[in-house]
Every structure is written in C-alpha cells, then in structure tokens.
Symmetry: C2
Subunit: 349 residues, 2 copies
C-alpha cells in the first residue's frame, strides 16, 4: 500500500489564490473550491443535496434540453462576461424551443493558475443572470487541466425547460407566406467584443446586447400566437440564422435590408474593420416566423417587451428555391446571402 | 459595408483533415463538420430537427439532470476512450440518482489542429456507448479554440433521466444500521490510465472498468429494494466516495478492508507507483446503501448483473461521529479515511 499522503487535517495553509491541479482531484481541495466559490453563489435545495445530479418534479408533457460551451475572450467585456453569457445563452436556446427555462447545469474546465478571484466574479455574474432568468443552477462539475492545456476557464451550461403549449416550433413549421420578424438592431455583441479585444482606441459606447429572451417568447405565447419558428442570432449573426432556417425548412426567405437596424457605433466599427454587420454575432436578438395574418399582433406583443421593443418585420417566407435567402438592399438591388466559410472573429461566444 | 468574403459556393477545396478555427465560426465549415462527423454518428429524429435544443415528451413525475466535463488523457486507453467515458459517466450519474437515462447532450471544445480522424473515432465510440445505454444524443454544440488554448478535445455531456419510483435516493437517506455494498473490485480505471500514460513498459492486462451502471440500479429497483444511497466511485476512488457520503449524510461508516477486492495487476501497479488503490479512480463501480434487513436481497439482485457480479457487503452505517469513515485493515487495525488534499493523478476523467 502507499505511504502517507497529505491529509486535509494537517495544519491548513492560507487558501490558494489560484487554481491548482488538486482543485480537480475530487478530494478536499475540490470540496473547498465548491464550498468557497460555487455553493454560496448558486445555493438552492437541489444543488445543496450534493448528489451526482439533481432530481426534481416536472409537469407531464413536453420538456426541452439544450447545451452550449462558452469560450469567449476576453472573459469580461462591456455589458457582459463569460458567466452571464453562459446563463443567458442557454436560457435563450430553451426559449427558442418555446420552452420556459427551468433548471440549468454548469460544467467548468479550469486552467491551472487561473485566479480564483476571476472565477468568483464569473460565478457571481452567473448567479445574477440565473436569478434574472428565474432559473436555478442545480448541478455541476469542475475539472482542472494543466497550465497551457486550457485558457483560463471554459463553461458549458445545459438547460431543461418546460413546454407549456402544443406548437411544433422549429424550422420545419415555417410556411410560404409567413412573416419574418426581427426583435431589434443587430451586431452589438460582436462589435463590443471586437472593440474590447482590438484595443482600437475608439471611444465608443459599444456594449453587448446579451439579454434574456424568454420574456419576449412568453409574451408571444401568452397572446396565443401560432409561432412557427424562433431562432436567436448568435455566431454568424442574422445572415447565418436566415440561411440555416431557409435550408432546414426547405423554403426561401425574402428580406428587406432597409428594415434591419444597425446602430451607428456598430456600423462604424464594422466599416473600420471590414465586416458585414449582418454576419456579426448577437446575444440578445432573435428571429420569429409567424403566419402573415398574425404578424401585427406578434409585433405588438414583442414591442411590449423591453428586450424586443424595436421589433420589426424584415421579410417573408416564399416557397422556392429551397434554402435561398434574398436580401433587397437599400438601393433596391438584390443579393443572395450565404453561409460564410471562414471565421470573422474567433471565440465570440 | 464589407468587401467580398469567401463564400461557400466558390470551388470547394479538399475537406480539411484537421480542425480549423472556422469550424467554430457558425458558418459553412461548422455545418460541414456537423454533417460529416456528428450527424451520421448520432442520427436521431430529435437531433435531426436541427433546432437550438431538443423537445421531447416526458412522463409526469420526477426527472433528473446531471452534467460532467471529460478531460482525460490519453484520449484513448486500454478498454476505453474519452468518448465512451463521456457517455458512461453521465449515464451513470443519472443512474446514481435512481433515474433511467433518457436523453444526453454533448458539447465539444476542440483545439485548432486536432485531427478530424481522432474526433471521428471518439464520436463513433460515443455513439456506440449511447446505443448500449439506450440513450440518444439529442442536442449539442461545438466550439473551437486557438492552437495552444485547449488540449485536443474536451467533452461535456449532460443528461436527463426519468425517476420511476418514489425513493429519496441520496446521502440524506442513509440511516444508522444500513448496510454498505460495493459493486466490485476497485482501482481499474485509474490503474489503466496510469499504465498507459507512464510508459512503464509493464506487460499488464490493465483495462479501465468503464461501464454502464443503470442495469444494476434497475435490478435493485425492480426488486423493490428500498435503496437509500447510490454513489459511483470516480475521482478520488472508493475512499473519497465513502467520506463524502458520511459527511453529507451526517453519519459514520465502518468498513472492512478485507471485503474490498483489488485485482493483482491494480495492486501491483499501485505498489510500484506508491498509490493507495482505495483512492484510485473507477468508472464502473458504485456504492449502494440499503437497510440491513434487505442487504442479502440487494446483493442477490446486484450479483445477477454482469457489471456488479462481484458485489459484496463492505460495512455498515453508524450514528456517530458524523463524517467519520473507519477502515478495519486485514491485520485488524483501524484507520480513519480522509479526503486527500493533493492530486494523485491529474485528468483521470
């Protein structure tokens, strides 16, 4: 058998200021990290049960499951941070399924040497966003990788939501003639990340649009609107979301660029760097496809919510050619939108 | 607006053999990676819906949610690999909640430069393990980080399970007098990883014990046994699981070391390296606490399952002192088990 090992009841040194490999070992350092950082911020009865998972009641019917990894850099940027994104992004993916966000899980891959104070700030931000979303972080996991094998912290959140209606929301439900609505101006998140990363020396007030979308979806559902499809505009921006919906739905979309708002700071930054704001990431904007007959009702419901106060109709669904998105420009010309092959900006989310 | 960007309908180059940053950009490379690697391996109607999450029916009652990040190195080792672990580990955490594993999500953080062939092998292994577990991977996400900011691939899986009984399984349900059962010999996973990592030149047949535990739990529940607590023995091994249960339950545990099987290859490797096999990780072993009156019935149910064919009673729960685990050794002496502060072996799971 092995010789003596350092046991936790030896005289305790001062708590470490940085993540050590031992924080991922499953022993007393792992437990102390949990008790110092995670338990106080996320406290709730399910997490406090300290089991291998969380067990909870669900109403009969449909549920939704979603997951996303968050690797954005810098960790903190104007209007948000990695922690807030990890909550809002996953709650939003549930909302886009028409599901009320209920419970979230959080899994951390930490790099040896990460300042624990940074982790504490991110975790506090997650806890704040979770409160705002009305969800709890009910289970989690922490792993540590050697210095140089990670990049500070990656967070993967998953979420379970409750579907309280019978609509088959998804690309497959979009029909020719349906109206395409957009919840607000585009490009704020990507522009804020670019401005904070590039040290351009610009005195801009660019802030991420990172926000929770469920209140807007809830308003649509509460108004009994027959929502066909919802899609949030993250990586690849509005253009990518439009092309993906058109392809997956097997329909065409005709969109009027004049209806798509881009704020002056976003437009300015995009012109400076040479990016198309339609391809720039968002974290608080979404598309909604509804039957034309209910488009005005849907816009009214959306505009009553702060997160979608500037919702507009940007186009409509047509039957063919399947997968084609046509954009009518401000000067009346038309162009076809494609998926980009490259990477405008790595690690935007 | 921006100048021309490289569009996907340019003449296509040969498909890349390694992960590029663009595979994480959300555009056509992301889509092609999904269609080339993930969609064929994981194909199922929920995933194929290509929405922001998966929506499915759940029976009324209780559900479970769990998550784990998997960062083990090497990526492939005797008897398993990162992909198989990512499925078995999360399905097992659901089983330890007494929940039948139903649906899983998978989130990948890939490092630029990763060979796509390696990813394909891991994904095929995940798909095989998921079939074996009777679960589907219904939603997922892929991010790419720059070369040097990750380590090939990290996988986070989350799972939703269905709780088909009313038992409050967890540390809080353990009562003084209950029997402590162990499902088999310990230390195989950690020993297999050590042997494959250290290039010790040993001609051992050490293989991970990585396996699915739900069949054993299902057998316990089907026999109507009043299971109090289940805990799989991962990081920190048997000793850590015992101490955690004792602390979280506020009870003491008395365990007889002579009942704990350690195979000769595991014992030999641990002696060579100087590790205590009770602290070495497992991926297919678990503890079960049941009322003493039903211990023999529980052992009979466990032994009828291949994964727990060698289940034994290793001890019992006592009232105090809370959190104390006492191990009676082969020569009759007693020692107290503690959580280790350090890290026996980083990145074991």
């Amino acid at each position: 058998m092995s010789g003596p090992t350092p046991f936790e009841d030896c005289p305790a040194p001062a708590p470490p200021q940085r993540i050590l490999l031992g924080h991922g070992g499953g022993g007393s350092l792992t437990r102390s990290l949990y008790e110092r950082v995670f338990a106080p911020a996320f406290a709730n009865p399910l997490l406090d049960a300290r089991h291998d998972g969380a067990v909870f009641d669900l109403p009969a019917g449909r549920a939704a499951l979603t997951t996303d990894a968050y690797v954005v850099r810098p960790l903190e940027f104007p209007g948000g941070d990695l922690g807030r994104m990890a909550i809002c992004g996953t709650a939003n993916d549930l909302a886009m399924c028409g599901a009320r966000p209920l419970h979230l899980s959080a899994s951390f891959v930490l790099e040896e040497g990460l300042e624990i104070a940074v982790l504490e700030r991110l975790v506090a931000s997650m806890a704040g966003a979770a409160r705002e979303a009305g969800v709890e972080i009910v289970t989690g996991d922490t792993k540590v990788v050697e210095r140089g094998s990670g990049d500070g912290v990656f967070i993967t959140t998953s979420g379970v939501g409750v579907v309280e209606h019978t609509l088959p929301i998804g690309p497959g439900a979009a029909r020719p003639g349906d109206a395409v609505l957009l919840s607000g101006d585009v490009g704020r998140h990507g522009a804020a990340i670019m401005a904070s990363r590039e040290a351009l020396g610009l005195d801009t007030d660019l802030r991420t649009d990172c926000a929770l979308l469920w209140p807007a979806v809830d308003a649509l559902l509460a108004a009994d609107l027959p929502v066909a499809c919802l899609r949030d505009l993250t990586r690849g921006g509005l253009a990518t979301a439009l092309v993906e919906i058109a392809r997956d739905a097997g329909v065409a979309l005709a969109v009027d660029e004049r209806q798509i708002a881009v704020s002056n700071p976003v437009r300015g930054l995009c012109e400076l760097i040479g990016l198309d704001p339609l391809y720039v990431a968002n974290e608080g904007r979404f598309l909604c496809i509804v039957p034309e007959a209910r488009a005005e009702d849907a816009l009214r419901a959306l505009r009553a919510c702060p997160v979608s106060a500037n919702a507009v109709r940007i186009g409509h669904v047509t039957a063919s050619p399947a997968g084609r998105v046509t954009l009518k420009s401000a000067i009346g010309s038309e162009r076809v939108l494609h998926l980009q092959t490259g990477e405008q900006l790595p690690r935007i989310c």
